[in-house]
Symmetry: C2
Subunit: 152 residues, 2 copies
């Protein structure tokens, strides 16, 4: 099993970052505008992605496995690209030097692939989108997300 991990610092309170990770409205402002479902513990959140022209790219379903306000969020991917199903996504928050530090993990990939490399890069840009949303009110969720290669 292999993991994607990233670390980003956000100049805002852990509570504000946690809200952006645990509410449909928050998630829609930095990951994808097309976010729906139940963001409570045990619920399933559905995320759909489109190109700027409106073409469908893909969708994921995440079951919320852990919510510890304002420290930790864990999802289990139950639908999505085959490489994603069964992987877990975690956000661990801590406070350091007047920043909220987000330790992000997308863990338990079966193997290291070029698609995983794409997703690692893409997650980094979405974490910058999360930071921009929390700090300024304006993120870059899909379909207005930063395109990083020929895949998305």
């Amino acid at each position: 099993m292999v993991d994607i991990i990233h670390r980003v610092g956000i100049k805002a309170s852990p509570e504000k970052v946690y809200s952006a990770l645990t509410t449909l409205e928050g998630l829609a402002h930095w990951w994808t505008e097309d976010t729906e479902g139940n963001a409570a513990l045990g619920g399933t959140i559905r995320f759909s992605f489109r190109s700027p022209a409106g073409d469908f790219i893909g969708k994921m379903a995440m079951t919320v496995q852990e919510l510890k306000a304002p420290d930790e969020v864990r999802w289990l991917c139950t639908e999505g690209p085959s490489d994603w199903v069964g992987t877990s996504i975690t956000f661990q928050l801590s406070r350091q030097d007047n920043q909220t530090i987000v330790l992000f993990g997308h863990r338990n990939w079966a193997e290291s692939t070029e698609f995983m490399a794409h997703c690692s890069m893409k997650w980094a840009t979405f974490l910058l989108s999360l930071r921009a949303y929390v700090e300024t009110g304006a993120g870059k969720p899909s379909p207005g997300d930063l395109k990083i290669d020929n895949w998305n």
Copy 2:
């Protein structure tokens, strides 16, 4: 051993991207302005990093282990943060959909740590800097690099 991998697409020829990865001038435009040494096969390139205020942050030495124009570059880290020494850094270039695809790897970390998560995020932003430099002429090398957390 664990790896950081990223994938980014650049709208330019492989030769132009390869030049940005294999010349002191190219490297100084997207990773750190303070780049010196010998970029030829078997040579050692020295990279130093400073804060915008001029404070020293760190330095790395990379021995050039492989140069296959315009497809592949591999460095071995011989000096730097202890976690980096002995790791390898690779850039594999291919042409797809009118983009040069860069498959980046920073491989053979002894373990998955919070510092590795920081470096993964930081590499993603430097790869965006590489893309910006190659596509527009203006990257964001240190000390003008994008700060991503309380560490750098």
